[in-house]
Symmetry: C2
Subunit: 381 residues, 2 copies
């Protein structure tokens, strides 16, 4: 089939959906690859490297996708481009479908099948395609690296002739994929690391990384683990008790990293103004949930906000793009694992509609929005 | 005595020479402390905290130093201020005396004694006062943190469902205090770490941190260790052989940190254009020696230069100020250890001119430049 790899746009986007390595594999398998000029430039993959891997370089996204059977995109930022695809073609991306329902509508209108990689069911067969995991893992690492850069002190303990520098205290709120990698990275750097989560399973994972778990461990906590591995929203009573425990803990921290998300809902507020006021000047909070409304009062998308008492709240967008090379590498491998689901035995583009993964991630089919989560939205008509 | 702590100026300076903690100790010992408003603001120490520790806040550096017996400064950036000190007073700082001989001249003219903390002899009794070590240690840590931030990939190996991310390769050139901390930090972050130095003693230290030593280990190498612990300049033949070995090694690296200095001389060039050309796009070089001319061809003071082939050369100035809180903390403790050498038994300002540490670091005395290293300079008259 003819696969087109575009230069992605969107907030702070630097990733690309194929690497010279995956392109080489596609070409060897008999696919034709066109790539937009400079598609990988911001991820340190040059056009020359893609050419050497067998891709043809197009001057623009429009030229790149023309006649393509399948378009590889990192996100669903460019709804206009969809109109340039041939009818019946497919396009991939982490499309944030419920935040961005117009994209699926544009795909339906153009007769294009939209594969939302962020909707791929979290079943074990699909793990290698899980862009949420692969990107969140890097976000968690990056959150600690950026925090270490903004924090005016060292994270590890240092014993010097002039005395000892105490290790920093790092608190990770939300122990999903991003949170666990943040914990691991914080531990690597020698910080005294604690973490919290509403799921009891996380307690064991946190402990296995050498960090201390901080939570109100009542009956509700024990019952809160859901089958999808995500946190459901906790009761007001639980949230109050947990907030009190958290508040007293946060006051003593040097770095706090928040990663709490609830699927389809705004991010829960974990840190309010009173907690911010209790923190030391120079302490750093990284709000990885800022794109979904934020876990921290006053965090701003794309900015570092410094409070009156000198607490820095980091609200950068698109954390995976802050390490674009590895993020692209992982994303490209996720797509490589996905490709067989839309490929016939003879290598042609042919989505397997009987596969639950395709059913779970396809937003559109034959000119209509078909995904139940989009059909449930008031705006999706 | 009356000690004045000024708000330091100079390139990218964010440090302060006293913390609320050291001020508290000085006040308890009976000293009077005046501080310039906002002196510690950029290091996350507030005027309120200094006041609580017992300091009086002055509106300006000029007001702060008026009538002071001893002025605490981080550097020797403000030669004009010296004229506002009372005759016979002292001033401290890492003054880079040979780079900045006019500062000592200004002190001599004002009848002020200049204590260059960077000239404190490297004897064991003076270790606690060694600002070069305390600040270099933090620079080495920070170099790796910044490199991790600029590098578009992860430093540690990561095993994920989408495949393995290989660990980054980090090469540290120059294994002094900064280099050794860079090695330790790189190892913490899981990078495959190698290092080089012209001193054989460094080989053992590098190995003890778990990094591999890279050097041409011939007779000259074995003879090169000097009593001061510094590297002497090696022969052209050795440099050529080492450069060849280094060149082939550098081509394979993801991050290179250069820390090579020769006392009183420009920094040696360790990485030339051909080596830069051999490196991968996206790789990062941190040139910690940029203030002394740089170890890397094309590095620029205060800037990140990106070469045509995509190598980022980081030439930030004043690395300790990038972690101003800890750097100030260490500097303040160095000064606290130094203070007894200029204090009489009854707590008055009285430099002990019989002490070799005072002799080693005093640039001026009774209206004249007295330090032999300055007297040897053509401009010091």
């Amino acid at each position: 089939m003819h696969i087109a790899v575009i230069k992605d746009s969107g907030p702070a986007e630097r990733r690309v959906a194929a690497t010279p390595d995956t392109v080489k594999g596609y070409v060897a398998a008999g696919h034709k690859i066109t790539m937009t000029k400079g598609a990988g430039a911001e991820a340190d993959f040059s056009d020359a490297a893609y050419k050497e891997a067998g891709a043809t370089i197009s001057a623009s996204n429009t030229a790149c996708v023309k006649n393509a059977d399948l378009v590889f995109s990192v996100n669903g930022a460019d709804a206009k481009l969809v109109g340039s695809l041939k009818k019946g073609a497919g396009i991939t991306g982490a499309m944030s479908p419920t935040d961005n329902p117009k994209y699926a509508q544009a795909c339906a209108k153009a007769g294009v099948t939209a594969f939302a990689l962020d909707y791929i069911p979290r079943i074990s067969r699909a793990q290698a395609m899980d862009v949420l995991s692969s990107q969140s893992n890097l976000s968690g690492y990056r959150a600690v690296v950026e925090a270490a850069g903004i924090y005016g002190r060292a994270l590890p303990m240092m014993m010097t002739a002039a005395g000892t520098i105490a290790p920093a205290k790092v608190f990770v709120m939300g122990a999903g994929v991003a949170g666990l990698q943040a914990i691991a990275t914080s531990r690597r750097l020698g910080a005294v690391t604690t973490a919290t989560d509403v799921r009891p399973a996380a307690k064991e994972q946190v402990a296995s990384l050498g960090a201390k778990f901080v939570a109100v461990e009542n009956e509700e906590f024990k019952a809160a683990e859901t089958s999808g591995g995500y946190a459901k929203e906790m009761s007001p009573e639980y949230q109050k008790a947990q907030a009190e425990l958290t508040a007293s803990h946060v006051a003593k921290q040097d770095v706090v990293i928040t990663t709490a998300l609830i699927p389809g809902r705004p991010a829960p507020k974990l840190i309010d103004k009173a907690m911010l006021d209790s923190m030391k000047p120079g302490s750093v909070i990284v709000d990885l949930a800022v794109e979904r409304g934020g876990n921290v009062e006053g965090s701003k998308k794309g900015e570092i906000v410094t409070t009156k008492n000198g607490v820095h709240i980091v609200g950068y967008l698109n954390w995976p793009s802050r390490m674009a090379a590895d993020a692209s590498n992982m994303f490209a491998r996720n797509l490589k694992a996905f490709l067989p689901l839309v490929t016939s035995e003879d290598g042609a583009y042919a989505p397997n509609w009987d596969d639950e993964i395709i059913q779970g991630c396809a937003l559109t089919k034959e000119g209509a929005v078909v995904h139940e989560r989009l059909l449930a939205l008031p705006t999706a008509t």
